[in-house]
């Protein structure tokens, strides 16, 4: 081992040619003599300590400040050999150190990844580079050596992006997860959020809506804010982005939930840093309480211009189709329903003791022959769905020289959804350019523009004629054909208001979203160590939706065609300046100071138009004035929010062993009243690099160890309502005229202030067995105080709610990341397992919160409440506290009661009410899992990525449809094919209750909330790199093909459609073929 001491060089030593590598605490110099590379090592010991224990050669004792040199004799010098180093994607890697093992002869690769070095017999090459795993390879006796490098998971020299700067990973004191673009799934995806599931411990990613571009909910370390949202802050290239523009329809057909990051091309992303603890996030102050996701876009790589083209072609199938009844099954079920109703109404069989011969007998509406002949009928789901398709083309041109660094990219993404006519199309482009103007000035421009066009599916969970395309397909009568004999759409004879599913495909409903985001950055270095950086940025988003319901649809016909145009615009502007100063003092103290100011303005404005009674469907929304509605709709709105902030950070390192980070941010917001405008958010963190201590130097198995502690505060201001306003909109008709009416729409709350999160974090990073095993453990505990939320006002106040600070919550949790790097013969296997969990609970409730009888002040924040159920009522069974209960009704236990003062008595009171409600489960997952595996064998690579959640429950919408619409089967509505699961006179052993009779206890359908633990195989990607076979092709530098399966399997006991997705849009399995070509 090297002695870890500081050594000073004296300039007078003429042997020193150039310093090419700082390694540990010693310095090595190449020394050329007589054309031979000689390994020379030089140690200059300022205090005269003997250095002969140093690792190479034997050095003569030093005298005073003079260096001691020994020349090592060259051994077995035989020949020059050459080689090429590429990365796992086949791209050349420059700057790789190639060293002959056992000597100190080294060289580095050029920009094409090539190197040459003199080797002796049986030489072993040690090849290492920052960010890659070191390799040892025997020098071949002849020919060029091809070396493929693999990225390391835990390289200490790796740089991570932090707030307003970057930092060596080894110097990080906070809890940060870093995700490189190369670690993201390769499948085509509309937004990067969808790729993040299971990629960072402590980050919970849930896909909400399965439609193309559908929304994704991301939570970092739980959701302890109860009223101000739990969305993390997204920062793209230093610019905090606030939501997207999706005006939504104000028609009866909804368009679902979509991600605001759809306008960012995922191919442009270089890295994503997830800042988790207060030490990392406090620099973002008032908006950082839910964590920060820093997205950094790519820049050019050193070397001449490279062109790369990526193509992905995907086919999608429905993951689990709804199983609805076919025509025969439907007719049988309707007959059963009518018969069961007849029994209930006439108190026959299990429902009473009436003699069936005394009542009007039951006659089936169908004969056996009719039922048999009906066959399959129409499968309405098939009629409105298709196989999805995705095409994703991406071209990137990049390059960099000493002064200029550029990247230009263009992307075309087109996805046909699982629902017919549903299409998502994006065109985007980017220019990232950095120019060094002179010694002290560097400027960069990062501009991206995108245009998204979406043909929206007519979703909707309304009733009757507001039913969306999928819901109506689920429930439309299977016995009907799509079209009548005359070509018109069929309708359900006894539910004529129910639109034909196929007719809803005629609705024209398009969203267009345009985004232009630009950053200009100037970096000035007036003196060494001091950098002044100014960023000026904007994010302009325009979204509009044009929807037209033609007269061929049922609703369109009744209103003479309905046109709606809604426009939503956003303009966010940013200005910030930071001054940073870096200094290393006496090689003992390293200091980095950052001071900054930031101003941001967020403007949101838009309008809406609607009209109907059109003479023709031909105009769609393009001539909205052609409609003749007596009262065409118009509206508009505008609001601006501003933030002004001052912040600073000090990083101090002592002997590279002890690190201290202190940050402070003051944020002023226009959302709060005088006196509370500014919030102050301090943090401090300590880290101890244990591996730098003497006492660990003998532990060979320990390659890395760092302990981190942090404490800090962050804020949340995501609420409006500190001010009183009167709004218009409470109109009233007098005679036949609308009169504008106004009302107090918000109370002021001069005391309203920032929600503050105080977070403590303990972190431990370990590298074992020469980084073959890596482990990171984080423990956190946070308290959210002055929770922002809507205070429920007393019943007699004209308004329901006002914004207020309401109590405290806390969240505790852990995150572990275990990485393993194994080599089994020729197979390299890297895996990483992430486990995390959190517990959110109330700590203190606002005094004016009224708890329900079953609630306590310190409940978990999200609880599934419910009754204790006790099976189903059997025929003849009498439940005293449920006097109306008929056979098959769910029995609810009477376990408690109220006295006359509304206090719990602890004794059953013969009634089912709030007193009998208990906690069934915490709604939050008890464990979140991510598991990634990469295998490499020769030119093949295989990636298997899984993610899962445990302890979750989901409302089974599939089953709910059965219970909800069961009675409507009589009106021609189809229901899921699950009658056999539910109790009836014919099926008395069933698990689920009788839907033919009413349970008088509200909320008795809690059986629909079912356990939904799952492990999903998110991606399986198999790639093959053809590059090595292309050595004769001069113009082609890289060629890789891959196949990917996204969401191919989900392991779950959940009986619903999907344990993760909510909403009605069917989740898909995707199969992708991809090609990546570099020129």
């Amino acid at each position: 081992m090297l002695e870890k001491r500081k050594h000073h060089l004296t300039k007078s030593n003429s042997i020193m040619k150039s310093v090419f590598k700082t390694y540990g605490y010693g310095c090595r110099y190449p020394y050329q003599k007589k054309g031979l590379s000689l390994g020379v090592i030089l140690f200059l010991l300022s205090n005269g300590v003997q250095a002969n224990e140093l690792y190479i050669g034997s050095l003569k004792p030093s005298s005073g400040n003079v260096a001691c040199i020994e020349e090592i004799e060259p051994v077995n010098l035989q020949r020059e050999m050459s080689g090429r180093v590429i990365d796992h994607q086949g791209q050349p890697v420059s700057g790789v150190t190639v060293r002959i093992k056992g000597s100190n002869r080294t060289t580095t690769t050029d920009k094409d990844g090539r190197f040459s070095i003199a080797v002796g017999a049986d030489a072993v090459l040690n090849i290492s580079a920052i960010g890659y795993k070191a390799q040892e390879i025997s020098a071949p006796s002849s020919g060029e050596l091809q070396v493929r490098l693999e990225r390391t998971m835990n390289d200490l020299e790796e740089v991570v992006v932090i707030g307003y700067g970057t930092q060596k990973k080894s110097d990080v004191t906070g809890a940060i997860s870093s995700i490189k673009a190369t670690d993201l799934p390769k499948a085509a995806s509309t937004s990067v959020e969808q790729m993040l599931a299971g990629k960072a411990a402590g980050m919970q990613v849930q896909s909400v809506d399965a439609q193309p571009g559908g929304g994704v909910k991301i939570l970092i370390r739980g959701a302890a804010s109860t009223g101000a949202g739990n969305d993390p802050l997204y920062i793209i290239d230093g610019f905090p982005v606030s939501g997207g523009v999706d005006p939504g329809t104000n028609t009866r057909y909804k368009i679902g939930d979509r991600s605001p990051l759809n306008s960012i091309n995922p191919n442009d992303i270089e890295s994503i840093e997830v800042l988790k603890d207060a030490s990392a996030t406090a620099i973002y102050g008032a908006r950082a309480a839910n964590g920060v996701i820093l997205i950094t876009t790519k820049s050019g790589k050193m070397g001449k211009t490279r062109v790369s083209y990526d193509l992905k072609v995907t086919r999608q199938n429905m993951q689990k189709p709804w199983d609805m009844m076919n025509a025969t099954e439907y007719m049988t079920a309707r007959e059963d329903y009518l018969q069961e109703r007849w029994m209930v109404d006439n108190k026959i069989g299990i429902y009473g003791n009436v003699d069936p011969s005394t009542v009007k007998p039951f006659t089936s509406p169908y004969t056996q022959q009719q039922k048999n002949d009906a066959g399959e009928g129409t499968n309405w789901i098939d009629e409105v769905t298709q196989n999805g398709k995705i095409q994703d083309h991406n071209i990137t041109i990049d390059g960099a020289s000493e002064n200029t660094n550029y990247l230009i990219s263009a992307n075309y993404f087109n996805q046909d959804g699982i629902v017919k006519k549903n299409n998502f199309n994006r065109i985007s482009g980017r220019v990232n350019l950095t120019q060094k103007v002179n010694k002290w000035l560097k400027v960069s421009v990062k501009v991206t523009g995108s245009k998204i066009d979406i043909n929206n599916p007519a979703l909707g969970t309304g009733n009757a004629e507001a039913t969306g395309v999928l819901e109506s397909a689920l429930t439309f009568t299977p016995t009907l054909p799509v079209y009548n004999a005359d070509g018109s759409y069929s309708i359900v004879p006894n539910s004529t208001f129910f639109p034909n599913p196929v007719s809803l495909l005629e609705i024209s409903n398009n969203t267009e979203q345009n985004r232009l985001m630009g950053q200009t950055i100037a970096e000035i270095q007036p003196i060494k160590d001091l950098i002044i950086r100014t960023q000026l940025g904007f994010d302009k988003q325009d979204g509009n939706i044009n929807s037209y319901l033609p007269k061929t649809t049922m609703y369109g016909a009744s209103v003479g065609g309905q046109a709606d145009i809604n426009q939503n615009n956003k303009l966010d502007q940013l200005f910030n300046t930071t001054i940073s100063y870096n200094k290393v003092i006496n090689e003992i103290h390293s200091l980095n100071v950052l001071l900054g100011y930031e101003w941001q303005s967020m403007k949101n404005y838009g309008y809406g138009l609607s009209n109907n009674k059109f003479p023709t469907d031909a105009f769609l929304t393009n001539n909205i004035g052609a409609g003749a509605s007596e009262r065409p709709g118009v509206n508009s709105y505008k609001e601006i929010n501003e933030l002004a902030s001052y912040f600073g950070r000090i990083n101090y390192g002592l002997r590279d062993k002890y690190l201290l980070t202190v940050t402070m941010r003051a944020d002023g917001s226009s959302r709060f009243g005088k006196g509370n405008k500014f919030g102050y958010f301090p943090s401090a963190a300590l880290a101890w690099k244990i591996d730098q201590e003497d006492f660990t130097s003998s532990l060979d198995w320990l390659s890395r160890a760092k302990l981190r502690l942090s404490l800090g505060q962050t804020g949340n201001s995501n609420i409006s309502g500190a001010f009183a306003f009167y709004s218009f909109g409470r109109d009233y008709l007098f005679g036949n005229t609308y009169n504008p009416g106004a009302y107090l729409s918000s109370y002021d709350n001069p005391n309203l202030k920032w929600e503050t999160t105080t977070e403590f974090n303990f972190g431990l990073d370990l590298g074992l067995f020469n980084e073959r095993v890596g482990l990171t453990v984080e423990l956190f505990s946070k308290t959210v105080s002055d929770l922002l939320g809507e205070q429920q006002l007393k019943t007699y106040l004209p308004l329901d709610k006002r914004a207020a600070n309401l109590g405290k919550t806390s969240s505790k949790g852990f995150e572990t990341t275990l990485t393993l790097n194994n080599n089994i013969g020729n197979v390299k296997w890297n895996s990483s397992l992430m486990l995390s969990a959190y517990k959110d609970r109330w700590k203190e409730r606002s005094p004016d919160v009224i708890l329900k009888a079953y609630e306590s002040a310190t409940d978990p924040i999200r609880v599934h409440w419910g009754y204790v159920t006790d099976g189903l009522v059997k025929p003849g069974e009498i439940i005293p506290h449920m006097p109306n209960a008929l056979p098959g009704v769910q029995k609810i236990k009477d376990i408690n009661g109220f006295d006359s003062n509304n206090k719990l008595t602890g004794k059953p009171d013969g009634m089912i009410n709030d007193a009998d409600v208990v906690k069934i489960a915490n709604q939050d997952p008890s464990l979140i899992v991510g598991f990634s595996n990469t295998f490499q064998y020769k030119n093949f690579d295989l990636n298997i990525h899984m993610a899962g959640m445990f302890g979750t429950r989901q409302f089974n919408q599939y089953m709910w449809y059965y219970t909800l619409l069961h009675a409507d089967i009589n009106r021609g509505w189809n229901v899921p094919n699950m009658a056999n699961l539910f109790y009836s006179s014919k099926n008395q052993d069933a698990e689920y209750p009788n839907v033919n009779v009413t349970n008088s206890v509200p909320g008795a359908n809690q059986f629909l909330t079912q356990k939904s633990d799952f492990i999903r195989v998110r991606n399986i990607t198999l790639g093959y790199n053809i590059t090595p076979h292309l050595s004769s092709q001069k113009w082609l530098s890289n060629f890789r093909v891959f196949v990917d399966a996204t969401n191919p399997f989900v392991f779950t006991k959940y009986k619903g459609i999907d344990p993760e997705f909510t909403g009605i849009y069917p989740p898909a399995k995707s199969y992708t073929l991809g090609v990546s070509i570099g020129f």
């Binding site: 101003w599 007596e630 009183a724 709004s727 007098f734 009416g741 106004a742 009302y743 509200p1002």
Partner: protein, 492 residues
């Protein structure tokens, strides 16, 4: 180097001066600039009326689940719903409890808040200097009319209700005040005081452009309903006389025209909720009642969800030739021509007659019709008066005459005192007559309770909970949790 430092300083200063941390909301008004003018006061008044028709599913014309109308109708013998499911069974069989939104959500909290809103606006009007005294007086009387109407409904549904009346308390969102549940006497006095003060100040009629506002007649009608509710027959007799003596109300010649869109604002109407086919304030009656199997002969695109029906047992209370059957169909136009519904062997047809009360608006857009929703009308006054008089003087001749006045309008046979054994018999007849005249207008629950038949009717439908406690609805559990001073209504 000096240059760019100066530049930077300049840029920074420039942006500092851009900072504006005051709220910038451009589409709302704030209390410093509103309300000031007479026009402002008018917009506040319109906002106060909004509770009566916020939209078609929130207000007095709302006939959907949880509405005032549904609570008054679906719990009675005149209503049956083809849609099935637990919602309608809950009303039919009295299955509600203190956690059920069925009987609380759209009335208890919203009406208490709306009363407070009226009191708040009255106090704001008081504070406004640049508005005419006349106008101020008129507006305040309208507010009192709304308060009387809403507080009577609360009283009828929940018994004496804990409301706030002190503007100081209402104007302070941080107030700790919690109202007691008042005594019955207080509640009655409160409704009476507001109703009477409104009646004293309000005009009998408005120009067309103000039709729908509170009138003297509306306020008196609320007082009449209250008097009947309290079985204060003498007071009811005098109030009904007061309304008749206003001279502004007459029966329409044709029964169904009271509800038709081309006869809006007719002289039979005492309170109506104006509707149009456009916007969110429309009449959705036909959508709720017309069976899907109905063929609309005039190609009006009526929506036909086919839910609400009048049981055949009730239909049979009509005699042949009664013109009121134009609004309650025993037969209707189907794809096979006009058919007697009872001859169709389908559950929807076997269930009951179709209450075609609001004739289709030719401008209909499916669900939306423009027919104004009738809350109170004159024939109700005549029949209430008949009932009160018969209670005071059994088989009173004026009572018989009033009933005949109502019946003859619809070409129904007239009655004579000789047909009735005693006042009780006539009383029972009046209950039936009220059904025939006012079916599905939201009066049945009050009528049945007053006649002591609400519970027995429910029992005959299979309701298990049908003791006296079900004469009023439960106070929602959340209101009791919020205010411990409120005791739950007995039996819940």
């Amino acid at each position: 180097m000096k240059n760019f430092n100066i530049l930077l300083l300049f840029a920074t200063t420039m942006f500092f001066s851009c900072e504006n941390l005051e709220p910038q909301v451009f589409d709302k008004l704030n209390p410093t600039n509103y309300p000031k003018t007479e026009e402002d006061a008018k917009t506040l008044m319109v906002g106060a009326y909004n509770v009566l028709n916020e939209n078609s599913y929130k207000g007095f014309g709302d006939i959907s689940w949880q509405s005032r109308w549904t609570m008054n109708t679906a719990t009675t013998d005149e209503f049956v719903c083809y849609w099935g499911g637990s919602v309608w069974e809950t009303y039919e069989k009295f299955l509600w409890n203190s956690g059920s939104v069925h009987v609380t959500a759209k009335t208890y909290g919203p009406y208490i808040k709306a009363i407070s809103n009226c009191i708040k606006i009255a106090s704001q009007l008081d504070a406004m200097d640049n508005i005419k005294g006349e106008t101020k007086k008129q507006y305040k009387a309208e507010l009192k009319g709304i308060i009387a109407l809403l507080s009577y409904t609360l009283y009828d549904f929940y018994g004496p209700t804990a409301i706030a009346t002190d503007p100081e308390v209402i104007n302070n969102p941080a107030s700790d005040f919690q109202p007691e549940k008042p005594t019955k006497e207080w509640m009655i006095d409160y409704i009476k005081a507001n109703g009477r003060e409104a009646a004293n100040e309000l005009p009998e009629k408005y120009p067309v452009s103000e039709f729908g506002k509170m009138t003297k007649g509306t306020a008196l009608m609320v007082l009449l309903k209250l008097a009947m509710h309290e079985k204060n027959w003498a007071e009811a007799a005098s109030l009904s006389k007061e309304i008749m003596d206003l001279g502004v109300y007459t029966l329409q010649k044709v029964y169904i025209s009271v509800f038709s869109v081309d006869n809006e604002m007719n002289s039979e109407i005492i309170l109506a909720i104006p509707n149009l086919t456009t916007g969110n304030k429309f009449n959705s009656w036909l959508a709720h009642v017309l069976p899907s199997e109905y063929i609309e002969p005039n190609n009006i695109p009526v929506q036909q969800w086919g839910g609400y029906k009048v049981p055949w047992k009730m239909y049979d209370k009509f005699e042949n030739g009664d013109e009121r059957l134009q609004a309650l169909w025993g037969k209707m136009n189907t794809k096979d021509g006009v058919k007697d519904l009872r001859s169709i062997n389908e559950p929807w047809a076997q269930m009951g007659a179709v209450p075609y009360k609001y004739p289709a608006d030719p401008a209909s857009t499916g669900e939306a019709h423009g027919n104004d929703w009738v809350v109170y009308r004159y024939s109700d006054v005549l029949l209430l008066r008949a009932e009160a008089l018969n209670r005071i003087t059994p088989l009173s001749s004026e009572a018989i005459a009033l009933i005949n006045q109502v019946r003859s309008r619809s070409k129904a046979s007239t009655i004579s005192a000789a047909q009735f054994a005693n006042g009780e018999a006539l009383n029972d007849y009046i209950l039936d007559e009220r059904f025939r005249e006012l079916f599905m207008e939201g009066h049945r629950r009050e009528d049945l309770i007053r006649h002591g038949k609400y519970l027995s009717e429910a029992k005959s439908r299979g309701a298990v909970y049908s003791d006296d406690t079900r004469l009023i609805f439960p106070i929602p559990q959340w209101a009791i949790d919020e205010n411990p001073k409120i005791k739950q209504n007995q039996g819940y």
